[in-house]
């Protein structure tokens, strides 16, 4: 019964999304407030039914209702409850349902918080959002119904891929989807603006918080995915340039460009066409991500069921969404007039440079990801881009971007003074030289030295404004705290997010060239040496988990003969479905992380043990978290708060009224 209720709710949500995608448009054309209001009502109603549908599927998983085909194929009654629930989105059908649910949440949020928007803009935005929803709900209903029954129902389910039975999986996809789908709001706003034929600074102020929120979620999602790969795949890698990773990175890069170019629209009424195009591009890249993972066009570890029929459907959605948007863009963008010019040395110019870098990098990642497909179909040759190809352009371009990232935020709008700005960066320059000297003394490779110099330059440079505020000056007296608190939250956001990038970059630079790795054949009692530590294999025993058996290897970690920690590394066998995972033994540390993975067993009772010492690896993820904090700080700036434009205008007379 639950499955039928869920199915019925989904059908109702589909009907509502059809209403939402048509009536408000008509209302906006007719200037009828009542018809435009239908957009808000239907968006909220649609959200309620999507929640109900998702709730029904979750209940089916929680009570292990194996008469539902999806539950039978992806769950098992032995599974711990948390993985029964995360199993809802650990498969194609359920994850699509989560996707549309998040789409509904964002649409509902715009409906609820967007009351202060001009009614026609709100109506058209919700209508576009409704159309995206309608297409994806149709996709679920017609090709991937999660509520299909199985008759007769099996006694037990076939289980969830053990690689996915992990806290990382429970959280990674929802965050990723909130990022992907969150960009749909920027997209819908862009299309609404194109239909309306005008983009005003106020438009950018309404779009930016949604984009920023999506960006924070996506950053978090990518970070969780990377951390999951690190501890679960068992070989110490944190980024593989795998196609599916790349498709999450591309919307991130484009979305990063978008939040920056939207600033220029908001403050200076310029870069409008470009920002609209970026909004279209960012969400399109999210859709391509969805397409790629589900179509099997490129093989990858992450691929769900390879099913060409579904691929065709998603490709159709992509054509309607992106193709339609680009047609509209081609026809209407010329009407968006550029209002203000700026000098090559100015905040605007630096943000343009940021966009040039980010979009070029996105293009490079795109080409690298699809080169095998393009080469195969155009020239009939097999070409594939691996990590060296990606690093070849990604690293220098990212470093180039970071050089300017320190400068941009301290340049003035319209016309900046390069000399004055560089003078303000003297502390950063000193720190960078210091970092370079230490790196050379520590005999770092040229690339990691360069990366460290630039990262430290950025780290200190990003904090310039804050450091200056912290220094007492004649103009600005008061306590340190009150001086720092006088900085706008958005400035704090920029500072913190840019510092986060620097911290991630330092982690990558140091890790890439300083990892030590040892493989040894050990019998219990023997030990291996790594990075000044002694790792002693104490025992390997059979353990019984809730739904797996494991070979558990216990190690003692000693430094200078003193026991400093114990490490447990496991190889787990899951009978349902029969497969194995490596649970690496990890001793994380701010300076270095020790990573132990258990390999094969030899006939003589010895084990292959691989140990890594990864310096600063946690900085990579720590930097991402700091970026998210920065984004959240910026989001909390009252100027950006949705529904606060009127109050904000009073507080900030510099911003041109809409």
């Amino acid at each position: 019964m639950i499955a039928e209720i869920g199915h019925f709710c989904l059908i109702l949500a589909f009907v509502l999304s059809l209403v939402q995608s048509t009536v408000p448009h008509y209302g906006a054309a007719q200037r009828s407030l009542a018809l435009m209001g239908v957009g808000r009502t239907s968006a909220i109603a649609q959200l309620i039914f999507l929640l109900a549908a998702f709730g029904c599927l979750s209940i089916a998983f929680a009570i292990s209702d194996f008469s539902v085909s999806l539950v039978a194929n992806n769950s098992h009654s032995d599974k711990p409850m948390i993985y029964k629930l995360s199993g809802v989105w650990g498969n194609h059908e359920g994850s699509m349902l989560l996707w549309v649910l998040i789409l509904g949440v964002f649409g509902g949020a715009v409906a609820i918080f967007g009351r202060n928007l001009p009614p026609s803009l709100l109506a058209r935005t919700l209508a576009v959002q409704g159309l995206i929803g309608a297409m994806f709900i149709a996709f679920i209903l017609f090709t991937s119904n999660p509520f299909d029954r199985l008759d007769p129902s099996p006694v037990n389910g076939s289980g969830l891929n053990p690689l996915l039975q992990d806290p990382g999986l429970a959280t990674h996809p929802p965050f990723l989807y909130m990022g992907y789908v969150g960009f749909s709001i920027a997209f819908s706003f862009a299309i609404a603006a194109l239909i309306e034929g005008k983009v005003e600074p106020a438009w950018a102020r309404w779009v930016r918080p949604w984009t920023l929120a999506a960006w924070c979620f996506l950053t978090m999602g990518i970070m969780l995915g990377s951390a999951w790969a690190y501890y679960e795949l068992g070989w110490g890698g944190w980024w593989f340039w795998d196609p599916v990773e790349n498709v999450s990175l591309m919307p991130w890069l484009a979305g990063t460009a978008l939040i920056h170019s939207a600033i220029v629209v908001e403050k200076r009424d310029a870069l409008k066409r470009w920002t609209i195009l970026l909004a279209i591009l960012t969400f399109s890249l999210s859709l391509i991500g969805t397409f790629l993972v589900r179509s099997g066009v490129v093989t990858s570890v992450h691929s769900f069921a390879v099913d060409p029929e579904r691929g065709v459907f998603i490709l159709g959605i992509l054509v309607v969404t992106t193709g339609g948007a680009l047609v509209l863009y081609a026809l209407r963008a010329a009407d968006l007039k550029m209002a203000n010019l700026f000098s090559p040395v100015s905040r605007e110019a630096s943000l343009v440079l940021n966009n040039v870098f980010l979009v070029s990098i996105t293009g490079g990642v795109f080409l690298g990801t699809f080169i095998s497909l393009i080469a195969r179909e155009t020239f009939g040759t097999d070409v594939s881009a691996g990590a060296p190809v990606f690093n070849f352009f990604f690293v220098p371009m990212m470093l180039g971007l970071m050089v300017f990232m320190a400068l941009g935020p301290i340049l003035a709008w319209k016309r900046g003074n390069l000399r004055a700005a560089l003078f303000r960066l003297r502390a950063a320059a000193v720190a960078a030289v210091g970092a370079g000297a230490s790196a050379i003394i520590m005999q770092q490779e040229p690339w990691s030295t360069l990366a460290l110099v630039i990262s430290v330059w950025l780290l200190v440079g990003a904090m310039t404004t804050v450091i200056e505020k912290a220094m007492p000056s004649g103009r600005d007296s008061g306590s340190l705290w009150s001086r720092l608190a006088s900085l706008p939250r958005a400035t704090w956001g920029t500072t913190v997010a840019h510092a986060g990038i620097a911290i991630t970059a330092i982690g990558i630079a140091v890790l890439s060239y300083n990892t030590s790795e040892t493989v040894a054949k050990l019998t219990p009692g023997q030990s291996l040496q790594i990075a000044g530590y002694e790792l002693k294999l104490i025992s390997v025993s059979d353990e019984q988990g809730p739904n797996y058996t494991a070979k558990a290897a216990r190690f003692e970690l000693r430094q200078d003969g003193k026991l400093i920690d114990r490490v447990l590394s496991e190889k787990r066998s899951y009978p349902n479905p029969g497969s194995e995972t490596t649970e690496a033994g990890i001793r994380p540390g701010l300076i270095g992380t020790l990573y132990v993975s258990l390999g094969r067993a030899y006939d003589d009772g010895a084990w292959a043990v691989r140990a890594y010492y990864h310096p600063l690896v946690v900085w990579i993820w720590g930097g991402c978290l700091i970026m998210v904090v920065g984004g959240t700080l910026s989001l909390s700036d009252r100027r950006l708060r949705v529904g606060a434009p009127i109050r904000a205008r009073r507080a900030q007379p510099a911003v041109r009224p809409a």
Binding site: G296, T299, A334, G578
Partner: protein, 178 residues
């Protein structure tokens, strides 16, 4: 600004859609149909640390076997590896490995660490044989019949489900053939 420039993004996008559409039709069923029921192309690969034997067409005669394309740099192969190990330990079917564009030392270290499910490994460091086989990525697995004909190509990591639902029944059928 020239208005035509505004159509550029659309033009690029339509081009991409073309590629995606072709990619969809090609993958993976058509690749299969091109190769299926054709004899294996000429294979003659050195086996690391063995001078007495090579991985060649004679290897595949007289039994149903798998030819698994793998590489130490391939992440998905890591995911697939435990399944192959289990099949090997159950003696389900002889599995031959084709180490694709891999340095022999790295491949050997990989096998030493994770275990060896392969009856023999052919070293295709240059990737020449993989081209003849039409390999598009790793891992890929060919099902070879008694006469040395390719009967099926599996793209991507073999998991339990794929083994039980697709490969195992097919191998049963092939083994029943004369």
């Amino acid at each position: 600004m020239n208005r035509a420039v505004l159509f550029l993004p659309l033009a690029i996008f339509m081009g991409l859609v073309g590629y995606f559409a072709i990619g969809l039709t090609r993958n993976p069923s058509e690749i299969r149909s091109v190769l299926v029921d054709k004899p294996l192309p000429a294979i003659d690969l050195p086996v690391p640390d063995r001078t007495d034997i090579r991985l060649d067409n004679a290897t595949f005669q007289g039994k149903v076997s798998l030819l698994n394309v793998f590489a130490s740099w391939c992440i998905a192969c890591r995911v697939e590896h435990p399944v192959l190990l289990r099949l090997a330990s159950e003696k389900a079917i002889p599995i031959y490995g084709l180490a694709w564009k891999d340095k022999p030392e790295e491949m050997k270290a990989w096998i030493a660490e994770l275990g060896d499910p392969y009856s023999l490994i052919g070293d295709d460091a240059k990737g020449r044989t993989a081209i003849d086989l039409g390999v598009t990525g790793a891992p890929e697995t060919f099902v070879i019949d008694r006469k040395g004909k390719i009967r099926y190509k599996f793209v991507g990591p073999i998991d339990d489900y794929a083994w039980e639902s697709t490969l195992k029944p097919l191998i049963k059928l092939l083994e029943a053939e004369p």
